[in-house]
C-alpha cells in the first residue's frame, strides 16, 4: 500500500504529511523543554542562593560544544541545499560532517559528565546540578536520536535518492528541522546553565 501525501501536498493543509508531522512533533518538543525551563525558573527564583555556573561547569568546554553544534546545523542545511542542487557527493560529505560533529559533542559532554561524577557532583548534590543533569541528559538523548536518523540518511537510507528523489529530499528536510531544533535548545541551555 502506498502511503499518501508523502510528496504531494494534502488539499486541506497545503502541506505534505512529512512536513506537517515534523512541525507537530517539534511543537510537542517545545512544550517538553518548555516545562523543564519553567521548572528551572521556578526553582531558581525561589532559591535563597544559586551557584554560579562556573563553580561546577567548564565555560570554555561549553563554548566549544556550542560552536560544534552550530557547525553541525550549518553542515545539515548545506547537505539539504546540496540535494536541492542535485549534488549527491557534496550531500554525502556534509551529512557525514553532520553525523560526526555531534559525536564529538557527545565525547566532550561525556568528559564533562565523567568530571562531575569523579568530583561527586551528582544530581543529588544540589538543585542546580539536578537540573543541569536532567536538562543536558535529555538534550543528549535528542542528540543521539539525531545521530541515528542522520546516520541512516547518510548511509543506507541515502539509496532512496536514486529511486524517489523528491521523497528523499523531504525526509532530509524533516531530519534537518529536527536537528536545528536540537541546536536551538542548546543555544538556550548554554547561557542558562553555564553563564547565569
Amino acid at each position: 500500500m502506498e502511503i499518501p501525501y508523502t510528496v504531494e501536498a494534502r488539499p486541506d493543509t497545503g502541506l505534505n504529511n512529512v512536513k506537517l508531522g515534523i512541525w507537530l512533533f517539534l511543537a510537542s518538543e517545545v512544550m517538553l523543554f518548555g516545562g523543564l525551563f519553567s521548572s528551572y525558573v521556578l526553582l531558581r527564583v525561589g532559591a535563597v542562593e544559586w551557584p554560579q555556573g562556573a563553580e561546577f561547569l567548564n565555560i570554555p568546554i561549553g563554548t566549544v560544544n556550542t560552536i560544534i553544534l552550530i557547525a553541525s546545523s550549518v553542515t545539515m542545511v548545506m547537505a539539504y541545499a546540496s540535494l536541492k542542487l542535485g549534488d549527491f557527493a557534496k550531500y554525502k560529505t556534509y551529512m557525514l560532517a553532520t553525523v560526526l560533529l555531534p559525536v564529538l559533542f557527545l565525547c566532550i559532554k561525556g568528559y564533562e559528565y565523567w568530571e562531575k561524577v569523579s568530583h561527586d557532583h551528582l544530581p543529588s548534590h544540589s538543585t542546580f546540578l539536578a537540573i543541569y543533569w536532567t536538562m543536558t541528559a535529555l538534550h543528549g538523548i535528542h542528540i543521539i536520536g539525531g545521530i541515528v536518523v542522520n546516520g541512516y540518511f547518510w548511509g543506507p537510507g541515502s539509496k532512496m535518492w536514486h529511486i524517489k528523489r523528491e521523497m528523499f529530499e523531504n525526509r532530509v528536510e524533516a531530519a534537518g528541522l529536527y536537528w536545528h531544533f536540537v541546536d536551538l535548545v542548546w543555544i538556550f541551555l548554554f547561557p542558562v546553565l553555564y553563564l547565569l
Binding site: K19, I70, A81, H180, V192
Partner: protein, 118 residues
C-alpha cells in the same frame, strides 16, 4: 526551500552569513556574562542574545522566514502562546524574589579568586 539553482545558491550565501553571526553571538554571550551588571540586566542581555541566535536558526536554517503555510503558522503560534504561559506562571508566583542578588555570579569570579589567593 524551493526554486531554482540560482535561488538555492542565494540561500547558501545567507547560510554562511548566519553561521558567522551565530559564532560571533556565542562569543558575545560568554563575554557578556563577565560584565559587572545587576542580575536582572545580565539575564536580560543573555536571553536577548540567545533569542537573537534562536531567531536566526529558526528563520534561516528552518526556513520559517519564507514559510507561508497557515497550518505551520497556527501550530507554532499556539505553541508560542502556551510556552509563554508555562514560563510566566512560576514568575508570577515568585515575583517578589526576583533580583535579590546584585550582580552576575561570574562578574565577581576574578575578585573572589584574588581574595582566596591572599
Amino acid at each position: 526551500m524551493s526554486g531554482s539553482a540560482e535561488e538555492v545558491r542565494k540561500h547558501i550565501a545567507t547560510y554562511k552569513k548566519v553561521a558567522g553571526a551565530l559564532g560571533v553571538f556565542t562569543i558575545v554571550t560568554v563575554l557578556a556574562s563577565y560584565l559587572n551588571v545587576p542580575i536582572p540586566l545580565g539575564i536580560t542581555i543573555a536571553l536577548v542574545i540567545a533569542l537573537t541566535k534562536g531567531s536566526l536558526v529558526a528563520s534561516f536554517f528552518m526556513h520559517l522566514s519564507e514559510e507561508r503555510s497557515k497550518a505551520i503558522i497556527w501550530t507554532l503560534g499556539l505553541t508560542v502562546v502556551f510556552w509563554f504561559v508555562l514560563m510566566l506562571l512560576p514568575l508570577f508566583t515568585m515575583s517578589d524574589h526576583i533580583g535579590v542578588h546584585k550582580t552576575l555570579p561570574n562578574a565577581n569570579a576574578a575578585t573572589e579568586h584574588a581574595e582566596e589567593a591572599h
